[in-house]
Subunit: 376 residues, 2 copies
């Protein structure tokens, strides 16, 4: 297939930087995709998100199929038009959130049946229906196959069962997707933290053939060290010439370590979620603006940033807004955090292109974890 | 005093348009001042507010003196710097909100003593302290005298007592304010809905001499008709050559009718408060975006507006955001509403300058109250 050309510009060790070309614009990798759960990157206008340099957003099939419904989004011209974002959108398959949010979900060979967390109504999501929602109704640029993601830790036989079901669903997803020159379909590797299962999954996916390969079943509680150990062997199992996407990750340090292992794409709700709770991510690590030590701190979060939220407002003002539970505090910290995650991926792209990624990685880890800069 | 030149450009009946010149910029009248209660126009960046054409913001002394405290704002460079708004700011005296929000307030000749609604701590607000907070600590451009605003309805003797106390406080306010070429002090007319008391109040204020004259004690439950009747006689009692400011007003129809009676300045939380609850103000009246009839309405709130929130997003999208309780829905509707109130005052300024204000007023009332356009 290879619907979208993926051009590697440079590699540095296992780390790589490149460009995934899509009809709606280039995605520079390593790429961080802000999450627009329900048709909005929470608290931000798309213009604010675009200003941070984001090349692509993620939309959630589960949320959108329940409200406003995928059919309504279609009637309103598709997800890009609905939310006014004309650059690429990747949608997840809905499977992960069906299992984590709906509470009652029943998985069979055919499909997953679940009840909406909004109104308890019953829904069925099959591989074919997920493709229909993502590719036909929402009009996503990058479509994810439906998969079954087991919780962690999982017994070997349970993880094997889930990856094999995911592989069969991957095959059905590809058949349902068919030939679409303007859209891409990504497969998802499963297998929990078992090397043999990750290998089996990677082999099955490559037999089917996808436009890109995601690593699923990580960032589900196994922790940073176990995630890195899994990536050590799991990433090289995936084709070098296609983008590799680590789903749901993560903290800046997770992202840097995954890039060091050859991952190209990321998504996470962390920047917006933690921003709404007063946390700002900085080069010196996370800080909590609620902390009294910021009450009269007249410095901005990052005076070198192009983002107004990072550059123009004092920490004292942000502290006040968060303490007073003002919406603007949530807006500015979400905006700053998205800008920081974009700045982080931009810095990695440059470091890889200039052949100094190992130094970047070491300096980042040292500076980012300085205990003196941590908020309470 | 007349610290700030006030130049009338045109009058049309009792309606007038002009410019109040301040060191931080011109205020075009009739002017609507968005309310930045706690150092933020709720949900909006100052850049978004500025983009709507607002020449001046209002800040609340009561909220700011309690959190982050006026002293802290001073140490951080004053309110303009703190919230990043370099155009004029008018601050209220704190009196109205002490009496409406703090619950327990005790008024004596000397001052009002109250407990914070945040933590129950005890505070004293005197005319002199209010001036200190506004003029010295927050660094407001237009400072309001402390007054006592009675609730409605009030017996004649109670209203008389309050206006006389307010007049004595006005005298003390002026003495405390002294000579400040870069700041202005406004007096506040009281007297409830009693013509004789409004006259007594206006006369006392003019004996003292202020840079501008506000009408207090309205929009406190008397209703549109009683407010208009009071304005019929109360506005002409105030000097023609100084700005007249109707405090806390109001709905678009209230503003148009007050302009028709010679009022120049307004403030109200309505656009942001109602925006946070899903209500949009339009030329065709208010509509509630939660209403199911907007679920697939692909039209924007106002395609002719310069405001992105009014022009670029469909009602269907706004409906979705409000239904899903997304922060962006509150942001966009607050933004749209502030833009609408600015567009309304801009349209009135033009109509007055072109000598067609009566036609504007008639057309506005007819269109704005069309029952078919009302939301449920």
């Amino acid at each position: 297939m290879s619907a979208f050309p993926f051009r590697l510009i440079a590699t540095d060790g296992a780390a790589r930087t490149g460009v995934l070309q899509t009809p709606r614009g280039d995605i520079r990798t390593p790429a961080f995709m802000p999450v627009g759960t329900a048709g909005t990157v929470k608290a931000l206008t798309v213009d604010q998100v675009a200003q941070t340099g984001a090349d692509i957003l993620l939309g959630n099939t589960y949320h959108l199929m329940l409200r406003p419904t995928a059919e309504r989004v279609r009637r309103l011209g598709g997800l890009h038009r609905f939310m006014r974002w004309d650059k690429p959108i990747l949608t997840d398959s809905g499977g992960f959130q069906v299992m984590s949010l709906s509470g009652i979900a029943k998985v069979t060979e055919e499909a997953v049946t679940f009840r909406s967390h909004l109104d308890g109504s019953k829904h069925v999501l099959s591989p074919e229906r997920s493709i229909e929602i993502q590719a036909d109704l929402l009009g996503s640029d990058i479509v994810m196959q439906l998969d079954e993601c087991v919780s962690w830790p999982a017994p070997h036989d349970r993880a094997a069962q889930a990856l094999r079901l995911s592989a069969r669903w991957g095959e059905r997803s590809k058949a349902a997707f068919g030939e679409r020159p303007d859209q891409a379909l990504f497969g998802i590797q499963q297998g929990s933290t078992f090397e043999d299962l990750r290998r089996e999954s990677a082999e099955r996916l490559q037999e089917i053939g996808f436009d890109g390969y995601a690593l699923g079943g990580l960032a589900v509680g196994e922790g940073h060290a176990a995630m890195c150990e899994t990536l050590d062997y799991a990433v090289p199992m995936l084709p070098e010439n296609r983008p590799r996407y680590l789903m749901g990750v993560g903290k800046p340090i997770d992202i840097v370590e995954a890039v060091a292992r050859g991952v190209d794409m990321f998504d996470c709700v962390l920047p917006t979620r933690s921003g709404r709770h007063g946390q700002a991510w900085t080069w010196d690590g996370p800080i909590n603006l609620k902390n009294a030590r910021f009450a009269e701190d007249d410095t901005p979060l990052d005076e070198t940033s192009d983002c107004p939220a990072s550059r123009d407002y004092s920490r004292a003002y942000l502290h006040h807004l968060i303490r007073a539970e003002e919406i603007l505090g949530q807006v500015l910290l979400s905006w700053h955090n998205i800008a920081f995650f974009q700045a982080l991926t931009a810095a990695m792209r440059l470091a890889i292109a200039e052949g100094r990624f190992e130094a970047f990685r070491r300096d980042f880890a040292a500076r980012h974890s300085r205990p003196a800069d941590r908020g309470a």
